[in-house]
């Protein structure tokens, strides 16, 4: 959908390596691309402006390392800065107090009720006994929704009779938790517009009444430029302690979260990754940075792989990606695995620089090339599979005959493999933290 930033910078700056210093002209061209990429990712335009200024300062006169192209170098600086911004604040999820009170707030439709249930599930896994409070008396059937979710998780839900004020519902919920020996209370509040003064005052009153240890702002990952002013308004009404970024399982880049963290200093604490109650993940700054830039996210790739492929296979794939000891056999295996994982394009496009290849590979799978690829590779000797460089004309003819394919088929496969191998190398070259943001994220 979008060119990745690294693709764009490669176009702008070429693959110049070891050219001494990055020039001003290079920087100007690069910054235009960085600006566009961030804006397309819904990063707030003011945040983009400051960000660009900072990156420019760092990049000008920066030594272009021999091992990196100027484009990669800029990507690295951008990525490092993004990770810095996203790492702001304290990401710990605090559950002190008895009961520990957690309040979820946010705009209409951002995903508060679903996130309430997900947090409850998370808290149970931490060994705690949560009680959910349905504190949205406005939206039709909001309390029913929470109650249904609570029932499916076997977690009690506190509801108050119609007409009870929201502050009273909140107080009643905390009292009920004490009676029921529940040590965490999670309050689901009504969605409200940040410019609705009455309802913003209401949420402030709730906060004053139950003194939550965590007040989490629920933000839809698809939110546009207004995210910042919305977050500022909520943070002005109540001390927001963290964000839950929802619907990140879509293809939105999630720049809103970056904007909010940059402007308010509030850290992202959780990601909502699906509609089910277990689809809640801890936040990793480097992964979101990679996503905003449209860069590789090998960890996510590997994690997704683990869901469907068995763990040892996935670990081996990760190892190969890291060491770039990638053979034709591996290529076949990973193509097979990726097919099992579902649409190839999406998975592959998570790998930096593989965006272009992804479409090609998907088309290959669609055409049934997987079978042909398999036949070709099976017709090769072990040496040939490890090192296709030995494939001279006569070997290629032999393989074509042996696999029932044609010479152009063989040539295409070898070329495709060469490209893939190049990418693997690029990805895993020594210490390239930028391209491998995801891997460095594994602490």
């Amino acid at each position: 959908m979008f060119d990745t930033l690294s693709d764009r910078l490669r176009k702008t700056l070429g693959n110049l390596t070891g050219r001494g210093r990055i020039s001003e002209a290079d920087i100007d061209a690069a910054m235009r691309e960085v600006r566009l990429a961030l804006l397309e990712a819904d990063v707030n335009f003011k945040v983009v402006k400051e960000f660009i200024a900072r990156v420019r300062e760092r990049a000008i006169g920066h030594e272009v390392l021999a091992s990196l192209s100027a484009g990669q170098q800029v990507v690295k600086i951008v990525n490092d800065e993004l990770v810095d911004l996203l790492s702001a604040g304290d990401r710990t999820f605090h559950l002190s107090g008895n009961p520990a009170v957690v309040v979820l707030v946010g705009l209409q439709g951002s995903g508060k009720t679903t996130s309430t249930a997900k947090l409850a599930h998370h808290v149970v896994k931490l060994g705690r006994r949560p009680l959910l409070v349905a504190a949205d008396p406005y939206r039709p059937a909001a309390a029913d929704q929470l109650q249904t979710l609570g029932r499916s998780l076997d977690i009690p839900v506190y509801r108050a009779p119609a007409g009870t004020s929201v502050v009273e519902i909140a107080r009643g919920g905390v009292e009920a938790a004490k009676r029921q020996v529940r040590d965490v209370v999670i309050l689901d509040t009504a969605g409200r517009l940040s410019i609705d003064e009455e309802l913003m005052a209401e949420i402030a009153a709730v906060h004053a009444a139950v003194k939550p240890v965590e007040t989490l702002l629920v933000v839809d990952a698809m939110t546009g430029q207004e995210a910042v002013s919305v977050a500022q308004a909520f943070a002005a009404a109540v001390p927001v302690t963290g964000l839950i970024l929802t619907k990140i399982d879509g293809d939105a880049r999630g720049g809103a979260a970056l904007s909010i963290s940059a402007v308010t200093g509030v850290p992202v604490k959780f990601l909502g990754t699906g509609e089910k109650t277990d689809a809640l993940e801890l936040f990793h700054p480097d992964r979101l940075a990679g996503r905003i830039l449209g860069m590789g996210d090998i960890l996510t790739l590997v994690e997704r792989a683990q869901e469907v492929v068995d763990q040892t296979q996935a670990a081996r794939l990760e190892e190969k990606l890291r060491k770039a000891s990638f053979t034709l056999d591996d290529m076949l295996e990973s193509m097979q695995q990726m097919q099992k994982m579902g649409p190839l394009g999406q998975v592959m496009s998570m790998i930096a620089g593989m965006g272009n290849l992804a479409g090609e590979a998907q088309a290959a799978v669609d055409r049934g090339d997987l079978k042909r690829t398999e036949a070709i590779i099976r017709a090769m000797t072990m040496t040939e599979r490890r090192d296709p460089n030995v494939l001279n004309a006569s070997r290629r003819r032999r393989i074509a005959a042996g696999s029932g394919t044609s010479l152009p088929d063989i040539n295409r496969l070898v070329k495709q493999f060469g490209e893939m191998q190049k990418l693997m190398k690029q990805l895993s070259g020594g210490g390239k933290r930028a391209a491998l943001g995801a891997l460095t994220g594994r602490r």
């Binding site: 397309e40 990712a41 039709p140 029913d144 430029q225 939105a252 809103a256 509609e275």
Partner: protein
């Protein structure tokens, strides 16, 4: 929507913006419901007010409309009308743009500022740069404001002011299928639409085809009661296609003239869920051949650049015919609509400006653009 957690959705990159759905007889399931009733679950420890009525256990219960005294009389005076709804929009986005534009001539803020203001309104960076470029090239005698205004208006699709959902074929009911990603305001919009058309004297039936989200059916019922229209619902977890089929049957049997179907929110990247939606559409096409349903895409005005990807994916799956832009009473500007209308040539029909039954008003592009500059 009960498929197992699965790996992700292909990234959808429609080359063409033509709707990709096609009737496929193979998908035409026996509509007989496979609805199952969810068991009631354990009694709650703390529940001062028990849940309302359980969901109707029988597969195709048509809930009679609530009595007149139970229904809130639908009034069509919006609690927040176009002016109120766009007030903040005006105060923000376009007021600033206007300020800038006024200033361009006076040697004040530059075209860069204008571009920035468009970007701040979620118009999108690439489109904003384009618009400013074209506006400058226009050398409009009316000045920069007229130029930008003309460029913005040119992106919008011309529309028919007299539009109302009508059956394409003579007798059957008109059908409106409401789609969109999670939480954009589909169910609320349906509540508002039901009230609008019921007040016009049309007989409306709602189809509760979001059988997936917890309490979605209950939510739609509450909305239906507000305008006294019946709901066709199955049990939670039932096949949404079967619900729609039964609602169409009910409409034909009772000579109702409008069926509005709610669907579960779904991310446009989930290809299996998009397939499910395409199947629902095919069921409509089968049951009422030639009905030409209105496929309404509900878009949250706070959505950023992802809105375009959403609209394209839904268009490809089911062929959109209209858009509802909700939450325009927020501080957001909904600028992504320009890119969407431009790309898909599908008009915004209504805007949502609040949570009340009357907070839905027809979208008038001229008034919209004018209001932006007012």
């Amino acid at each position: 929507m009960t498929e197992p957690a699965s790996i992700e959705p292909e990234s959808i990159e429609p080359e063409s913006v033509e709707p990709g759905w096609e009737p496929d007889p193979a998908d035409f399931d026996d509509p007989a419901s496979n609805a199952e009733v969810l068991e009631a679950g354990s009694a709650l420890e703390v529940d001062p007010e028990p849940a309302g009525e359980p969901f109707a256990p029988e597969p195709a219960s048509v809930v009679p409309p609530a009595g007149p005294d139970a229904a809130e009389p639908p009034t069509l005076a919006p609690t927040a009308g176009l002016d109120a709804g766009l007030e903040r929009t005006r105060g923000g986005f376009m007021a600033r743009l206007r300020g800038f534009l006024g200033g361009v001539e006076a040697g004040g803020p530059s075209w860069d500022d204008v571009e920035e203001t468009l970007i701040a309104g979620d118009v999108g960076a690439a489109l904003a740069i384009d618009l400013v470029e074209r506006a400058r090239a226009r050398r409009d005698p009316g000045g920069p404001e007229a130029a930008i205004r003309a460029e913005l208006a040119a992106l919008l699709v011309p529309r028919d002011a007299a539009w109302t959902p009508r059956p394409a074929t003579g007798d059957g009911p008109a059908v409106v299928l409401v789609v969109g990603v999670n939480g954009t305001g589909k169910t609320t919009t349906i509540g508002k639409l039901a009230s609008r058309y019921a007040a016009e004297g049309r007989s409306v039936i709602l189809a509760a085809a979001d059988t997936f989200r917890a309490a979605a059916i209950e939510q739609l019922r509450i909305w239906a009661d507000r305008s006294g229209v019946p709901v066709v619902a199955h049990a939670p977890g039932a096949d949404p296609g079967a619900v729609v089929y039964d609602a169409l049957d009910a409409a034909v049997a009772r000579h109702a003239d409008l069926v509005i179907a709610d669907t579960a929110g779904r991310l446009h990247t989930r290809s299996n869920l998009m397939d499910e939606l395409a199947k629902i559409r095919r069921i409509v096409d089968k049951r009422l051949a030639g009905a030409k349903p209105e496929i309404l895409f509900v878009l949250d005005a706070t959505t950023g650049q992802n809105g375009l990807a959403q609209a394209k994916a839904f268009h490809e799956a089911v062929g959109l015919t209209g858009i509802v832009l909700t939450k325009l009473d927020s501080s957001a500007k909904g600028g992504i609509v320009f890119a969407i209308e431009d790309a898909l040539k599908v008009p915004v029909r209504f805007v949502g400006v609040g949570e009340g039954v009357a907070d839905l008003i027809p979208f008038d592009p001229e008034a919209f653009v004018a209001a932006l500059f007012a």
